[in-house]
Symmetry: C2
Subunit: 276 residues, 2 copies
């Protein structure tokens, strides 16, 4: 999915919601365990119940990998089940040198047909650019993450005064364009968001950390939106585990609906300023 299509979808659905399928076998409703593939049964119900309310699904690969080969089968069923026209993210945070990075890019773009994959910056340019060479595909580079550990390195100052994460953002914008590169910016980083948007005016941000991690949707949206919206706000546990009974999918839909309604409002308010 290219940028124009993504922006069009956001406008049409009045939503920039990404739903995180961080599906943990031990947290899904008990009745699903009768299915041959309980995690897929769960994901299928969540997708059916929410696909008109979100513009993206993010699959956290760790939750699938930990089940071994069966987990990868579940991942494949899930990615194949996501309807056309929804932006798919492999949240895999891969990062390795050129030759190996190309293998990872093939994994997620060719073998599993994701639109995008999250990438870690530590190893530098030659670990990122191989992901930028696939037409219509995206790398989503870790910028400033939502976790406590973001203080350990990302929010440490470099010689000259800028934060490490700012150096990463600046380098990223020199490697990729707003058409093939996004950045991860955590919703808990409200103090930094305005600064980040000023530094990177055009790129999309994938924003995790709303909900369970305490990020505030309205605040982060007002600080982070650009003229094309420029945000994919991810919610995982707050939607997929909204309920835990037979009607868990209905509960998930209600939670997703609340986010979509809030987003439509935030888009309308910001429209007046930036013209989405």
């Amino acid at each position: 999915m290219n940028r124009q299509e993504l922006v069009h979808t956001i406008r049409e659905k009045q939503s920039y919601l990404c739903i995180g399928l961080d599906t943990d076998l031990h947290r899904i409703p008990r009745h699903l365990h009768a299915h041959a593939d309980p995690v897929f049964a769960f994901n299928k119900a969540i997708i059916d119940a929410t696909k008109d309310l979100c513009v993206s699904y993010k699959i956290n690969t760790a939750f699938y990998e930990c089940m071994g080969i069966r987990g990868w089968e579940t991942l494949q069923r899930t990615i194949e089940y996501i309807p056309e026209g929804i932006f798919t993210i492999a949240d895999a945070k891969r990062g390795d040198i050129g030759n190996t990075a190309t293998q990872y890019a093939k994994t997620f773009f060719d073998t599993f047909q994701f639109d995008s994959v999250t990438v870690a910056p530590y190893m530098g340019k030659d670990s990122v650019t191989p992901f930028l060479e696939f037409s219509g595909k995206w790398a989503i580079l870790l910028g400033l993450t939502s976790n406590e550990g973001s203080g350990d390195f990302q929010l440490q100052r470099m010689e000259g005064g800028e934060y490490l994460y700012e150096k990463v953002l600046r380098a990223g914008t020199s490697w990729g364009s707003a058409d093939n590169l996004m950045f991860v910016v955590g919703a808990t980083q409200t103090e930094q968001m305005a600064r980040i948007r000023a530094l990177v005016p055009d790129h999309f941000f994938l924003v995790p950390g709303v909900g369970a991690q305490g990020g505030d949707l309205a605040q982060i949206s007002q600080l982070g939106m650009n003229k094309d919206c420029g945000l994919l706000v991810n919610v995982s546990r707050g939607i997929i585990y909204a309920g835990n009974g037979e009607d868990f999918a209905t509960d998930a839909r209600q939670a997703a609906q609340q986010y979509q309604t809030a987003m439509a409002d935030l888009l309308a308010r910001t429209t007046q300023t930036v013209g989405v």
Copy 2:
């Protein structure tokens, strides 16, 4: 495998060679394609031919992941085929926040039974410590890598003058001990190696970059060895692709033998200094 066992194995085999099974379906000898699982047939022959000469095998997961579910089956067959008493490394460079990091740790330590996994530091402490909570298992944290991109961030100076990679090494040693944490230090980083060993005297280093990437075994060993050897030097392409005919395994053995002989000599020379 714990540290004592690893040091004992190094002493017994007179080797600190790690062989990287970065096996690419498109680079293995043609006659193997008749096998149901050509990559496993290749790995099996390499392991049979080299297992007495090395102390470790490193599996670069990217080369397996890119084949999808079949690739994970091959990875599982390979890890199960590696004999007891050889240190196994999942070169997966994972890095994500607490909850997700735990899933990754389970993947490689429980599901696939590796001794260790490579981990990326960018997300900080809570992305690393979950890997340190498994008894007898190891995290191998990226310190200073061998690729050109190591200059982009790792070799950039922080406020106060130290390099980012030094900050990562210092943080790592405060999170884990020499019994559950190693660091990746590229063999091409000879200028930094003495400084790194001074900063981190006790931990093992996984050293990629000898061979195809141009690192010099003798030089890096003399700079990096400590009293317990403290090095696992990885060679991938230089051994596994030493030959490309029917007798590729014999060629691989010859290449591995050359490294082992050189390592025995370097261990003996360093013994006189540090008493291995």
